[in-house]
């Protein structure tokens, strides 16, 4: 991490960029937050570890409104979102200096807490650049140890790959974290009967509190004004008045990002009710791959989105 910090400092001192977009340490070692560092002094609080799950690409929209260039730290999967934003002209390439940061998987604090670990005051061993696979967790109730690889977010267990799709330089190594098939869960659900599927999604979606965290964290959801914020609807975007509204919201949100979603997994990570929202996006990704050929949003800036192109012999609706 020190190497990364020094490099950012150097770039800022050399005036390559005016500020940096990275992560800042929090209260307990696991609550790092996204932050703009406007001066080199502020970099004291800079941190990069397994708890820096936040995808910074979307903050680049704000950074582009500022004077000068911004250093942005991107993990391999974040670069897909960055590319996608570039493709949609929401950000400008020349406004960013991209440091591709190595990643050995991001950590899921709720998974750690699910092991009965409470009262956490500090976590050691979360450093991204160390090869050690052990988290030492200090709590008020005693110390715990947990393998780093056992505390990964679901998205990291089916990582898209450790290559950065866009960068100016790379610092640190990335590790393989794949231990599951990305579409396994989707296939399992597809095997269920219609009523079982319905029950499954009803249980999950009835937890939704319409906080819109999934939407607001999503780098693909970057509309200036969301359709769900329209006052033309008679149902409010914040009301969970009926189970229908949640379904409507999540289907349409997934649809609006279909072909643009890079499967970065931010929606599931931020959901305060632990709804596996990636199950919607991945279903679309799976269908698109099967019907219109393999496509990975954000892997480059040129390829057409499957939903803004067509071929003469596409499948007919309802017949797949």
């Amino acid at each position: 991490m020190q190497e990364l910090k020094n490099r950012i400092k150097q770039l800022m001192e050399e005036n390559v960029a005016q500020r940096a977009l990275g992560w800042k340490k929090g209260e307990f070692g696991y609550d790092a937050q996204a932050a703009f560092f406007e001066s080199t002094d502020e970099l004291d609080d800079f941190v990069y570890n397994g708890f820096c799950g936040a995808n910074l690409s979307k903050y680049m929209i704000e950074a582009c409104k500022k004077e000068g260039r911004t250093i942005i730290c991107l993990k391999p999967c974040d670069t897909y979102s960055f590319n996608q934003l570039l493709k949609e002209h929401r950000i400008q390439r020349e406004k960013a200096y991209i440091i591709g940061v190595g990643c050995k998987g991001t950590l899921d604090i709720s998974k750690i807490k699910a092991n009965g670990i409470e009262g956490i005051v500090d976590i050691e061993g979360a450093d991204m650049f160390s090869s050690e696979n052990l988290l030492k967790i200090k709590t008020v109730y005693g110390d715990h140890e947990l393998a780093y690889s056992d505390a990964l977010l679901e998205r990291c267990n089916c990582c898209k790959g450790k290559e950065h799709m866009i960068f100016d330089e790379i610092i640190g190594e990335s590790a393989d974290t794949v231990s599951a098939d990305r579409f396994e869960q989707i296939e399992k659900i597809e095997q269920l009967t219609s009523i079982e599927k319905f029950e499954f999604f009803r249980n999950e979606l009835s937890k939704c509190i319409r906080c819109n965290a999934c939407r607001n964290a999503c780098p693909a959801c970057n509309c200036r004004k969301c359709v769900f914020d329209s006052d033309k609807f008679d149902s409010a975007q914040k009301a969970n008045s009926d189970s229908f509204e949640e379904k409507m919201f999540h289907i349409i949100r997934a649809f609006h990002v279909a072909g643009r979603c890079t499967d970065c997994g931010e929606c599931s990570r931020v959901c305060p009710q632990n709804i596996p929202l990636h199950l919607f996006n991945r279903k679309f990704i799976k269908d698109i791959n099967m019907l219109y050929g393999d496509f990975s949003a954000g892997s480059n800036c040129e390829e057409n989105c499957p939903l803004t192109s067509y071929s003469f012999d596409d499948a007919e609706p309802g017949k797949i």
Partner: protein, 147 residues
């Protein structure tokens, strides 16, 4: 849905028809005195690709039991390519509806030209029958619209 109640159940069906082909097809069906059930309410849209997925979900919300989208045959779109885009969108949307446990037979896309009055009436007759067999839509609607 038990068989005996199929008789009394009058499904609410929304048909989105494109202005240039399917709506004209419906018109021809009417003037040719071809029968199709009054349960079908037609909404004219400029092109099948104008149909936003939200239209379909809103129709279900407000109490529709089935939704059908009709447009020009692929290749015949008045705007050249609209229905190709609609085809991809609806393919994905229908697949998603099935995935979350909505009966896949509640939605359908048919390509009906302005000359195909017979096809229009046959399509509507068969779709109404299909929805009657499925029964009332209970999985995808707003409770407040039910009572």
């Amino acid at each position: 849905m038990p068989m005996n109640s199929t008789e009394s159940f009058a499904p609410k069906i929304v048909a989105f028809c494109c202005n240039w082909c399917s709506y004209a097809g419906a018109d021809l069906a009417g003037s040719s005195r071809l029968a199709y059930p009054a349960d079908v309410k037609i909404i004219k849209v400029p092109c099948s690709c104008r149909v936003n997925p939200m239209f379909i979900l809103r129709a279900f919300e407000k109490g529709a039991d089935g939704v059908i989208i009709c447009g020009c045959h692929p290749g015949d779109c008045h705007y050249s390519t609209g229905n190709y885009y609609a085809r991809r969108r609806m393919t994905l949307l229908f697949s998603m509806l099935e995935y979350i446990g909505i009966e896949k037979d509640r939605v359908r896309v048919e390509w009906v030209s302005a000359a195909e009055a017979v096809k229009f009436s046959e399509t509507m007759n068969s779709f109404v029958l299909q929805i009657k067999n499925l029964g009332e839509n209970v999985r995808l609607g707003d409770l407040r619209c039910k009572s």
